[in-house]
């Protein structure tokens, strides 16, 4: 294995994804089955992660909560990667004037914190998944555009792009068929980093109460519920927090590992 980070990243995310996948079919307990007598039980043999303030099984909650967290991260990453890459390519391919306009607009998008956007959207659209996805994408699109535009400009300045133009190729064809494959490693790495960031932002927003609304649960929301009880039942905070850490770390490690692996300067076999 060339890159130990990549391997560790795959193991961590594999673990999280397996748990999410299983949660669609099976959870050890009913995740919303309230049992007030058993509330705030510490981890034991029947409730592996203990129970929450309403006596619900914490492990089942974490399992089901991962669905919402990963779904939001996935959708906003796809939106960010597709729109952001297209926007970045457009900025690189259009003349200096339009390029500057797109770049400046991206800067504004980057400067606005996504938590602020989410709070504004939550008051207008109402809190929930959609607001969170829009808020995260609103940040991801310009960030990706900004990451893509520089390398894309570099590729555009290379001889084979001019050669493609002498063959009569259109600008759009050149951007998507000549430039995009050459910056693919950057986009791939950026995508896995965004996924990690998406998980983190979703958790923060749910923690603030803007994200998942009951009965939907999410890791951030479990954290919010546990917050007043942190002294009484520390496992209630630590365990869902650990899952956030594992998945964010996992996707970041994958991003790191891929960036090493896909770097033509470091790998002898060349790109892709």
């Amino acid at each position: 294995m060339k890159s130990p980070q990549l391997l560790l990243g795959i193991i961590l995310t594999g673990f999280v994804l397996t748990i999410t996948f299983v949660s669609f079919f099976w959870t050890p307990w009913d995740p919303i089955g309230i049992n007030v007598e058993d509330r705030l039980l510490p981890p034991n043999l029947s409730h592996w992660f203990g129970t929450d303030r309403l006596g619900r099984d914490l492990f089942s909650q974490i399992m089901v909560g991962s669905q919402n967290t990963l779904f939001v991260a996935l959708i906003s990453t796809i939106v960010g990667a597709v729109l952001g890459t297209s926007l970045g390519l457009a900025a690189a391919g259009s003349g200096p004037r339009w390029g500057a306009v797109i770049t400046r607009i991206s800067d504004i998008g980057i400067a606005l914190p996504s938590i602020l956007i989410a709070l504004v959207l939550a008051t207008t659209l109402g809190p929930g998944r959609l607001s969170v996805i829009i808020a995260i994408s609103f940040w991801f699109v310009p960030v990706t555009a900004r990451v893509v535009v520089g390398p894309a400009r570099q590729i555009l300045a290379l001889d084979f792009v001019e050669a493609a133009m002498t063959h009569g190729r259109s600008r759009r064809y050149i951007l998507f068929r000549q430039v995009l494959p050459n910056i693919a490693p950057i986009v791939i790495v950026q995508t896995s980093m965004m996924f990690a960031a998406g998980i983190l932002i979703e958790a923060s927003l749910s923690f603030l109460g803007v994200g998942a609304q009951p009965p939907t649960t999410s890791w951030g929301k479990i954290l919010m519920d546990s917050q007043p009880l942190v002294q009484q039942a520390p496992y209630y905070t630590i365990l869902p927090g650990a899952f956030i850490v594992i998945s964010v770390l996992g996707f970041n490690l994958i991003g790191d590992g891929l960036s090493v692996l896909l770097d033509p300067q470091q790998s002898k076999k060349g790109v892709v």
């Binding site: 001889d159 084979f160 493609a164 133009m165 002498t166 063959h167 009569g168």
Partner: protein, 273 residues
């Protein structure tokens, strides 16, 4: 076939190239020589309409009766690759590193013809045979970095001639290659030009290269054509001092006399000779 009249390329009011008249007949091989910065490449790029946006072009460039200057990008795209094609200096940078050779050669065919996929495949193999690439069936699935410099330039030439252009612009086609390969590539270009009556504009700073392949030579200096005429006339009886200097600068293996003239007294070496 190609006629350039009163061409003026400028940037922010500063003139870079000024050509009163330059023409090429069908099938003619025209050499364009001059030092770096003399405007050779700008001139040929202006034919294809590929000058950087900040440069202004005036005058007229007609090709096969149509005016090229002022044509839209879309109209030019139809001419590029089909009627006028170009081969670049450094083949290792002129090929897309992420696209397989076969696909790259088929690019122009896919764009400019209605050939089916299998026909294009067939044609690509033929083209590769035509530029004397060994084992084309194997090479089509390779990436550019797996080929040698000479092979890469052959691929570039195959791409350029795929649509049987009537004019091929070769911008320093051999400069990045080593000497033995240079000669093979020049021979190949000559043969291709003869076979299909394809006009070629050879651009080079190396008079030796241009002399070997062109029927007429235009000498450029400071953005202007200072001398134009049949190759033998330019080489044997140059009239302009700059041309004479260019001929003098043409590298050949110096004999003992020349060496001592160039080096003067020899410097003492560490061995005390």
């Amino acid at each position: 076939m190609l006629e350039i009249n009163n061409l003026r390329i400028s940037i922010a009011g500063k003139t870079l190239v000024e050509i009163d008249h330059l023409s090429a007949t069908p099938g003619e091989r025209l050499g364009l020589v001059g030092e770096s910065g003399s405007g050779k490449t700008l001139t040929v790029l202006s034919i294809l309409g590929l000058l950087p946006e900040m440069m202004d072009v005036e005058g007229s460039i007609t090709f096969a009766g149509q005016e090229l200057l002022g044509k839209s990008d879309k109209e030019l795209a139809k001419i590029r690759g089909r009627d006028i094609a170009m081969v670049f200096q450094d083949p290792s940078r002129s090929l897309n590193p992420t696209m397989k050779i076969g696909r790259q050669i088929g690019e122009s065919l896919r764009l400019h013809t209605d050939l089916s996929k299998s026909d294009i495949k067939q044609k690509v193999i033929e083209l590769m045979h035509g530029v004397q690439l060994q084992d084309p069936e194997k090479l089509v699935t390779r990436y550019p970095h797996e080929l040698s410099g000479g092979q890469q330039q052959r691929v570039m030439i195959a791409m350029a001639i795929s649509c049987k252009p009537s004019l091929l612009i070769a911008d320093e086609p051999t400069t990045a290659l080593d000497v033995t390969v240079q000669q093979e590539i020049l021979k190949l270009l000559l043969r291709l030009s003869n076979e299909s009556n394809m006009g070629v504009i050879f651009v080079s700073h190396n008079l030796g290269v241009v002399q070997a392949v062109s029927e007429r030579i235009a000498v450029m200096h400071n953005g202007e054509i200072v001398e134009l005429g049949p190759t033998s006339q330019i080489i044997d009886s140059p009239t302009v001092a700059y041309t004479k200097a260019l001929i003098g600068a043409n590298p050949s293996i110096p004999n003992e006399q020349e060496l001592s003239r160039l080096l003067g007294t020899r410097f003492p070496t560490s061995r005390g000779e």
